[in-house]
Symmetry: none
Subunit: 197 residues, 4 copies
DNA sequence: AATGAATGAGCCTTCATTCAT
DNA sequence: AATGAATGAAGGCTCATTCAT
């Protein structure tokens, strides 16, 4: 997790601007100039700080993921009950600060970008594995069968992603309550369906 | 060199090429020239047939969706048992011909594109509503409570999308058996969890 | 004067279409396709008939000029009085059929085109000399001094062109009555100013 | 390589180059690249400074007109005698610096361009009205009848334009002495023809 | 630290033109 | 006679990137 706070404020402004612009346009096809100008600086300065468009994109993605990771970490602290932990994971995944239309759109853009960008894939992978590990860990305490736990984790990760992507495309903007509810009931169904495992 | 009456064939070739190129690159940022060349023609001809890059993209998307729709339609024909229908929906959603890495990637690209393109959103919407209507219809026969059916449909649609997107990013390429299995078990859990509804 | 009547009707239609399109757009930057389509044929056929865009333009210009020339010729026939002849020249120059906004615009376009096109310059030159010769001939009968006649002719040709161009740019469309009146009074002033010459 | 604070100079160079290129070719169909290269810079820089080809053209036209306007203004300063003023208008209209073949050609091109371009028409209109107002003002002091003055102004403006356009197309290049002489004698004839008005 | 100057590369698109049918 | 197929060339414009100041 890069400590962005330690970087000059200008980098933060730029990352924020990138998030805005990418989120608004739903594309990575945004010019560095547009991002830099939104951050109130010249594009040359953006290059000075980041070295290139790729890096701006990568750092912006890293920032988004690190926020999510931090949310999850802090939400899980001190909770040992698996159900509580699953709930915390949902809360973090759809946390109000991130589950806004523009942010979700940026998320999606990065998600797809990972398909063709190695560095983006790496970043996403780290986050993805952490989420899965948290899920597996929780489900292990619920299902005695490890393979069952693994499957439940995979399935839960899938529905989180699915709900995410579907809500991103809604004109009305995503509704986090509803999103969480869908995932929560998925978890409940999973558990209920295999009571003795 | 000019082949007469070649319009339909040429358009198909172009759409195929677009699918390839977009699927390979995971982006809409591909030049018309690249697509046209892959289809064995000059970019000028591509413009002659489609009128512009947007139309190429739109038509390609339409093609993908129409294939999916057709798969679903033919898979559902003559099945009245709701469980069979749900299974058919899964089969169609992850049908072997479409659930290939490149196709899935193209799918994803279009999916995201719909965020910023009105015509893409419209196309996606039509397909999306059809899927949902099929799901709701099936669940209505399983759950007496209509609201329960609606929720199950939404949840199932979500997990299908989630599994789709997750498998798209796998280096190893998507595994349709596994994908279907995850969704199938989600459906089973839904049903098992609310036996009396 | 090319006998256009002897050419296939298709050429005529094409020339007419070119006149329309050029007159409407006020530019030679119109595609052959647009012209051909306006004439109800494919651009390939236009090429078949004319061999190239340049020829289409040249022939169209030739047509316009030949019409003008014919008007002038028939208007002058049988008139020997110089004042009557000058009046006939004005009538022909601003003849109702040609002095329409679109036609005048096409005229202008060709006029400017002559600056950079040899063939256009040649055509214009022929017409220009004929007009001048007609003017000089008339003025010779009015002014005994040949140099005075030459000057009057040049001056009259100038004001005809000037009135033409100014009326071309009017939003309200050119007004031939007014145009002729200006030229007529110019002629009168010329004559009145040198009564004894 | 970058010169700092070069914007105004660069714009001027570009405008000059545009004038050259347009004047040489007698057409607006000149690529921005050609203009920019003539000005010793890349086309991208031209776009950077002007934003588009249209603006380059418009600014070039504006420059030409402003020069003409300035010539007229300074030529009229301190002159109150109407005949002197008319003479000054002619001098300015055919001032040596502007009445060169290439400049006149550019003028013509812009003139015709005004037919299809709103912004060009606007620019031309401003200049045109100023010229007319100057002419009317002078003739009002010569003719007591205002309608007579108005007609004389219109007629003079016409002959100026006509002489301009005719001289533009001469291979030998325009001859300002002769041009002025024609207009001068037109004015004289006007005045002589209506001595008591 | 910060920016305007500057450009090469590339993209979408149009067009005149040719050719086989 | 007539046209769709096909393309090379060119044009306007954008953009990531570099550099001097």
């Amino acid at each position: 997790m890069p400590r962005i706070g330690a970087e000059p404020a200008r980098r933060r402004e730029l990352i924020n601007a990138a998030l805005q612009v990418i989120g608004e346009s739903g594309t990575l096809e945004v010019s560095v100039k547009k991002i830099a100008n939104k951050a109130g600086m010249s594009s040359a300065l953006a290059f000075h700080y980041f070295g290139g468009k790729n890096q701006i994109v990568t750092e912006t993605m890293r920032f988004l993921l690190s926020e999510l990771t931090e949310n999850m970490r802090s939400g899980l602290i001190g909770k040992s009950d698996p159900h509580q932990r699953l709930e915390a994971i949902l809360e973090a995944s759809f946390c109000a600060s991130q589950f806004k239309r523009k942010t979700v759109a940026a998320w999606l853009v990065f998600y797809v970008h990972a398909y063709s960008s190695k560095s983006a894939a790496r970043l996403l992978n780290i986050y993805s594995r952490r989420l899965e590990s948290n899920l597996v860990h929780a489900y292990r305490q619920i299902f005695t069968n490890p393979s069952r736990a693994k499957k439940a984790a995979e399935s839960t990760a899938s529905i989180i992603d699915g709900v995410f992507i579907r809500h991103a495309l809604r004109k009305s903007g995503p509704d986090r309550i509803e999103a969480i509810e869908i995932c929560r009931s998925h978890i409940a169904a999973q558990v209920a369906a295999s009571p003795t495992n």
